[in-house]
């Protein structure tokens, strides 16, 4: 078994009202960043886990996302990176 650090992005589901993201986008527009379109505010998790290889580490984190880390009704997740640690 090796050690891995798996990063996950969890963001509000596409199409759902994201008032926090909208508030941040509005603030950015106020600051003059007029090129900014939508902003989505979510969570970034870094999970340190033991696994036989990177694919197994990613698979385990995907299952963690489905069962606990993301709510399938309201959130989407993506694996942002898998690194040996």
């Amino acid at each position: 078994m090796k050690s891995f650090r798996v990063s996950v992005h969890i963001v509000p589901r596409k199409g759902l009202l994201d008032p926090q993201g909208k508030a941040v986008a509005d603030a950015l527009h106020t600051l003059g960043f007029h090129a900014v379109g939508d902003v989505h505010v979510g969570r970034h998790l870094v999970i340190e886990t033991a696994a036989s290889d990177a694919a197994a580490a990613e698979g385990a984190v995907r299952e963690m996302c489905s069962r606990l880390l993301a709510n399938p009704v309201t959130e989407d997740f993506e694996i942002a990176g898998v690194a040996a640690s």
Binding site: L16, L17, P19, A23, R43, L68, N71, V73, T74
Partner: protein, 230 residues
Amino acid sequence: MKFGIVSFPGSNCDDDAVYAATETLGLPAVKLWHKSHDLEGSDVIVLPGGFAYGDYLRAGAIARFSPIMREVAAHAQRGGPVIGICNGFQIACEAGLLPGALMRNAGLQFLSMPVTIRVENTSTRWTALCTEGQRLTMPIAHGEGRYTVDATTLERVEGEGLVVFRYVDERGEATAAANVNGSLDNIAGVRNAAGNVVGLMPHPERALDPLLGSADGRVLFESVLAAVHA
């Protein structure tokens, strides 16, 4: 009949729920610590309001894995009455006892105010003594109460009459202005298919005495009392 009120670390309305059972209904109530595996003979389970586990990750996401929740799910499966109030509603949704999820209020503000809700369905253990269309005034106190559900489930929720309460204005209309947290279809509370599990964001246990602004919450507790005795 005995009330079991679950206390999670961070629950803060468990004492209000105990008060509702003991002082208002004159019934015994026991607080059930979340690590317990025993409902201690409770006939009715209350998942109270608060911030279980500090709302870490998502409101209710960690609490649903507390040992007591396995017993609560089994009680619900047997047809035992369960009510999830505010944070308890969030926990019941996360646990899959009720459809949907609660998201950050559309206006981003924590809302602490009285609201009017309309009873949409009386085929539940908690609204059996209500009349359809009856308006109830109760306080809300939440930051994450925007009811959300995917389109397919919404069709089922609406089609099967699983909506129990909607936010309405003083005329009883489900307007956008009355929908204080931006919930889908003004939904303030839902039930499971069997009608023994109900969840809502407003606080019936804080609306038991006219001295505190409203006694409209009593009918929910009186309904479950009638249901268990029936």
